[in-house]
Amino acid sequence: MLAVFKNNCNRLWEEKMYLVVSLILMIVAISAAILLTAHIETKGNLALVVPDQQVLSERESALMANPYFNVTVLETTPETSALVQSRYDAVVTINADGNDAITTIKNPAFKTMVETALANPTGFAPDNRPIRQTGTNILGFMMMFLLMQGVLYARFFAEDKEKHLIRRIAMSPLPFGHYLLGHGLFIFLIIAVPSFLVLGVAALMGIDIGFSLPVYAGLIGVLALLATAFALFLNSFFEVADTANMLGSAIIILTSILAGSFYSLSKEATLFDKLLHLLPQKDFINFVNALEKGSLSQSTFAQLVYVFAISAVFLVIAVANTRNDYLYH
């Protein structure tokens, strides 16, 4: 088993570019996730323009106390450029007659939200749809790349099959289980370790990455397991390395987008949405989301179990298929 593992490391060393490219992709994905989350997470910055030392009404004081907005009280209307620069998301001007005008360059939905908040500042809470937090976003963005890396690094296994090396190995005393385990372990570690290291470096640099590193270790482990199982599963069907590689990448991109790794596509529980739960990516991200929000329930755990179960199914099929190439006596 170690022989196969070491041999794959040697082979990878001859193709270092793969490792470099995947590391870069991973860093880009994580950075994008962090940047996008930061943007989504920002509270609304409001400028409250109260001219002529007017006393704040009760309503306006209540708005200032609302936790969903940062309210800055100004005496004069700020320049439009402050809106363009996103210093403020909206400017609320209180006129002498007590009416207010809202100026924003953001979308109408945002304007409506500020209006609602102004109308009922105490009871206001923003639309309670599940906004993802940093950790969920990072894993959502990483997921597709991790799954694709599985297919990428399974190419050594695919090459063994394509170039009949597996038959030569099968003639040696190496047991089949050890052979496949060697490949599986290689794929698993080469996916899990570098991406975990990238997150570790980010954490050391003081960047908020959502989860603690041990939790990430576990979650990345689950993803790496799924990626390894899927990659071995897919490659066990094809004799030609490139076919599995291309097909696998296509499947992963499509299903990851459908499963909403990046953004949740649909908010309602339509039939289509329910079908999407067949995709392990969706179940995984839902679990992570619940974990980060602290709203774990039995059904979210069931989703995690589903991810393990489908990985197990992939592995079993991969083993059964490959065994045919390996064992006869």
Binding site: A3, K6, N7, N10, R11, E14, E15, K163, H164, L165, R167, R168, I169, A170, M171, S172, P173, L174, Y326, L327, Y328, H329
Partner: protein, 312 residues
């Protein structure tokens, strides 16, 4: 009995088409057994079944008298296989290739390194051991293919057409290394469709055609058994006195041809008549400068057995 491996009534069909038809043979310790047959005869199929990478439809195989399935691991440990298709890692160096395959046989540490180096030396690849296999010529790749199979010093080495498509120099290197391995006590099962190789290295031959073993023996015995005639070729000094027709009076003579200074006499093998032939030439006052006896080639043997030529 000294059989390392014996095969009994082994058969295999693809889509009802028999490819190997109940063949039986044994590989004896220390021999170089050549399995000779044209492309498609079923040689590789037989080898692959023996090595455990292809299922079979019937028959038995045993290793040192024990059924192979029940001692598979021990059998595999003592087996080295050079597959017909190159099976090496093109992106890795020669040394990494040999080291990997040798390590599959449980070799480790110093012993591993020593045996890897020995195998590379043996295959004449020591100088290019750090080079990637993909930079190698066809002949070097073939030699590496062999090195990967011998580093663990197997008791039985099976080589499936290890010389197809390579330059004569590499081929000679390979053939002489096989003889060397044999001298060191390795038992070898060698498949080929090249007669010359069989003539050069074999200690025993199995001739295979259309999934059947049609003849077995040493190269001498095969020729002896199959042909009942032989040819004497005499180089003579030109002499008008020699009357070719006179030869037909000698018992067993089948054909006599005279071309310039060469006299070719075909005669039945089992009749001792060389003395009479020579006496006739001498009494004709003709000087014999040279005399040799030509027996059939394996090519003739194959032609006689199957009615077709070994070459396609």
């Amino acid at each position: 009995m000294n059989a390392i491996v014996s095969v009994n009534q082994l058969k295999k069909s693809y889509n009802q088409k028999p490819v190997v038809r109940e063949i039986s043979f044994a590989v004896q310790k220390g021999e170089i057994l050549c399995l000779l047959g044209p492309n498609g005869a079923g040689k590789s199929t037989t080898i692959n079944m023996l090595c455990g990478i292809l299922g079979y439809d019937g028959g038995e195989m045993s290793y040192r008298g024990e059924n192979i399935s029940s001692c598979l691991n021990r059998f595999k440990r003592n087996l080295g296989v050079v597959p017909q298709d190159l099976a090496i890692y093109e992106d890795l160096s020669a040394e990494q290739n040999v080291r990997f395959f040798a390590s599959l046989y449980g070799l480790k540490g110093r012993e591993l390194e020593e045996k890897v180096s020995k195998a590379l030396d043996f295959s004449g690849l020591q100088e290019s051991r750090k080079d990637r296999a993909k930079t190698f010529s066809g002949g070097m790749k073939r030699r590496l293919n062999i090195a990967c199979a011998i580093a663990h010093e197997p008791e039985l080495l099976i080589m499936d057409e290890p010389t197809v498509g390579i330059d004569p120099q590499s081929r000679n290197h390979i053939l002489s290394s096989i003889k060397k391995l044999s001298q060191h006590g390795m038992t070898i099962l060698y498949t080929t469709h090249y007669m010359e190789e069989v003539e050069e290295i074999s200690t025993r031959i199995l001739i295979m055609d259309s999934g059947t073993i049609i003849a077995e023996g040493t190269k001498e015995s095969l020729k002896e058994d199959i042909f009942d005639e032989r040819q004497f070729i005499m180089e003579i000094e030109e002499d008008q006195c020699l009357n070719v027709d006179e030869f037909y009076k000698i018992e067993g003579i089948k054909k006599v041809e005279k071309q310039a200074q060469t006299l070719t006499i075909t005669t039945l093998k089992n009749i001792e008549n060389l003395d009479k032939i020579i006496a006739l030439v001498i009494t004709s006052k003709t000087k014999i400068r040279n005399l040799f006896c030509r027996t059939a080639s394996l090519e003739n043997v194959f032609l006689r057995l199957t009615g077709k030529s070994l070459r396609d």
